[in-house]
């Protein structure tokens, strides 16, 4: 990698360091705090009775099945909604910040005026964001594994790793969507709107469509379903799930860089 490519990667890495660290530490803290409640939760009686009173479709929709088991506890509290949603939002916000927001504010222009291609500036930004997402994922994983150990939550490490990676890839996919819209339009509001709408819609499709017999087969159009539909905390994850999230993300990013090279740069 040339010095210029490194610099184009280093600029967004530096620029996003505050936001990246806040996301990483916040999600890790959320994980530790949640797992810290596990011992008292495990020992409390009557939980299964409580769950028995909730209609089964709702239990499935909110990931509350087997809530008393370690996997059920983690799924219901963290990995059914909260953590994947946070990662999707982080992916959209971080990507938007380093691409459309910087372009629209004019702060990307000093770099675009240098002897580098538009696509290289754009891909440098994307690379910086993906590295920050990786940092978030690594910190998440560490927080989960360490707190499981401390608070006696017994669950197989490979299941945890798979779940964290799938959630992370869901975030990467949403970052990829943000990159495409940013490359295409350069408008932060549009990136944010579409990115957030997609995150919420993806969850709704996965969680609520199964309640309706008519809509149930359509749950598989949701990236959330590709990531979490196999219940990765309980079952071994099929390889296609990683590919279904990762490959489109790369394609979206490539399209974003391509389309960014073919339009006017926003005036700022």
């Amino acid at each position: 990698m040339s010095g210029r490519a490194w610099e184009l990667l280093a600029v967004p890495l530096r620029a996003a360091r505050r936001a990246g660290l806040i996301w990483a530490v916040s999600i890790a803290a959320l994980i530790v705090l949640t797992v810290a409640f596990y011992p008292s939760f495990r020992d409390s009686a009557g939980l299964d009775d409580l769950m028995a009173e909730i209609p089964e479709p709702l239990v499935d929709a909110f990931g509350l099945a087997d809530f008393g088991t370690p996997a059920g506890f983690l799924r219901g509290n963290l990995y059914a909604v909260l953590v994947p949603l946070l990662l999707a939002v982080a992916g959209v916000l971080l990507m938007n910040g380093q691409t459309a927001v910087d372009e629209d504010s004019g702060r990307m222009e000093p770099y675009l005026a240098q002897p580098v291609t538009r696509a290289s500036v754009f891909l440098g930004r994307v690379g910086g964001v993906l590295l920050w997402l990786l940092v978030i994922g690594v910190l998440m994983l560490a927080a989960q594994l360490i707190s499981d150990e401390i608070f006696g939550l017994e669950i197989a490490t490979d299941r945890i790793v798979a779940t964290v990676v799938l959630c992370l890839l869901l975030g990467v996919l949403h970052a990829g969507v943000a990159a495409l819209i940013a490359g295409w339009t350069g408008r932060p509001g549009v990136v944010l709107g579409i990115g957030m709408a997609l995150a919420v819609a993806g969850y709704v499709v996965m969680a609520l469509f199964p309640i309706s017999d008519v809509l149930a087969p359509w749950r598989h159009v949701s990236p959330w379903d590709w990531a979490l539909g196999g219940d990765p905390l309980t079952n071994a994850t099929e390889v296609w799930r990683y590919l279904a999230l990762g490959v489109p993300a790369l394609v979206l990013i490539g399209l974003g860089a391509w389309t960014f090279g073919r339009r006017d740069v926003q005036a700022g």
């Binding site: 010095g3 210029r4 490194w6 610099e7 184009l8 280093a10 600029v11 530096r14 620029a15 505050r18 504010s105 004019g106 702060r107 222009e109 000093p110 770099y111 675009l112 005026a113 240098q114 002897p115 580098v116 291609t117 538009r118 339009r263 006017d264 740069v265 005036a267 700022g268």
Partner: protein
């Protein structure tokens, strides 16, 4: 021996945003080693033209050649020889001026890192303050430094003195002259006529997306209108209004007012021996200076 291509040639450049025609057919050529003034009021299309040269905008029509190459296809290679100070200045905020300039330096093959301290000293710029905490004038200095440190063959400066105090403007114009002496070509956009006049060899005047005057600074300057006000010791003579170059004369007791276009010589000659108590020839603002040249834009 190869013949060096012209630093900049623009033919029939037009740029449309939706229904707005920002640039409506510009032709100009900038020769190697000259300072070319690109003058026009705000909104005339100067920045749009410049952003097309940088390949930040894609022209709707026309052709741009920078050192004989098309920015659309050879943008990165062109920008190797070109440095730019944007008009709408935005810099990354969470870095110091030094960090930003070093970062730009790492993106260029030619960058005079060794002159960083010297130029910062000349511009009285604290390199180690966060850009977020710098005034707009100091941010402008950071941007100006990035261009002058770039050791570029062509400097494209869009309203570069905005926010600089007069002392720093003087220092800036001095730097422009130094770069020209070193063989560089400078394309200087401004809405301040006197600034361009003091440093440029040739200039073009832009209005509503079209060039309304182009030539040497003296030629173009001759087309500009100046306000004249003369106070006589007795009643002002009416015949002054009939002199060559005098327009819109108004006599009000001892005061004579008019607009002067072109050479001031007929007026000065005519005034020789007259009992005059004071005389004022005022630099008008740009819009007024070239009022005679401006056709009404098609709204």
């Amino acid at each position: 021996m190869t013949i060096a291509a012209e630093p900049l040639r623009i033919q029939g450049l037009a740029k449309q945003y939706g229904s707005v025609q920002a640039v409506r057919g510009i032709d100009l050529a900038v020769s190697a080693g000259e300072v070319f003034g690109f003058v026009g009021p705000n909104g005339a299309g100067k920045s749009t033209t410049i952003r097309c040269i940088l390949d930040l905008l894609r022209p709707s029509a026309g052709e741009i050649r920078v050192f004989g190459r098309d920015p659309r296809h050879d943008g990165a290679a062109i920008r190797e020889r070109l440095a730019y100070v944007p008009g709408e200045l935005r810099l990354p905020e969470r870095v110091t001026g030094r960090q930003f300039l070093q970062s730009i330096g790492r993106l260029r093959s030619r960058f005079e890192r060794g002159r960083l301290e010297e130029l910062a000293e000349r511009f009285k710029l604290d390199l180690d303050r966060n850009i977020r905490h710098l005034s707009s004038g100091n941010r402008r200095k950071v941007s100006v430094l990035s261009a002058f440190l770039s050791d570029a063959d062509l400097l494209i400066l869009d309203e570069p003195t905005g926010g600089l105090d007069p002392l720093m403007q003087h220092e800036f114009l001095q730097l422009v002259r130094e770069r020209r002496e070193a063989g560089a070509t400078v394309f200087l956009s401004s809405h301040i006529l006197s600034e361009v006049q003091s440093v440029a060899d040739r200039m073009a005047v832009l209005r509503a997306g079209k060039i309304v005057a182009q030539g040497t600074v003296n030629e173009v300057r001759g087309l500009a209108r100046q306000r004249v006000e003369i106070w006589f010791e007795t009643d002002a003579p009416e015949w002054l209004g009939r002199l060559a170059g005098i327009g819109e004369p108004a006599v009000d007791g001892r005061r004579f007012r008019a607009v002067l276009t072109g050479s001031a010589r007929p007026l000065i000659d005519a005034l020789a021996g007259q009992a005059i108590s004071s005389i004022l020839i005022q630099e008008p603002d740009l819009e007024e200076a070239f009022l005679g040249l401006y056709e009404e834009p098609d709204e």
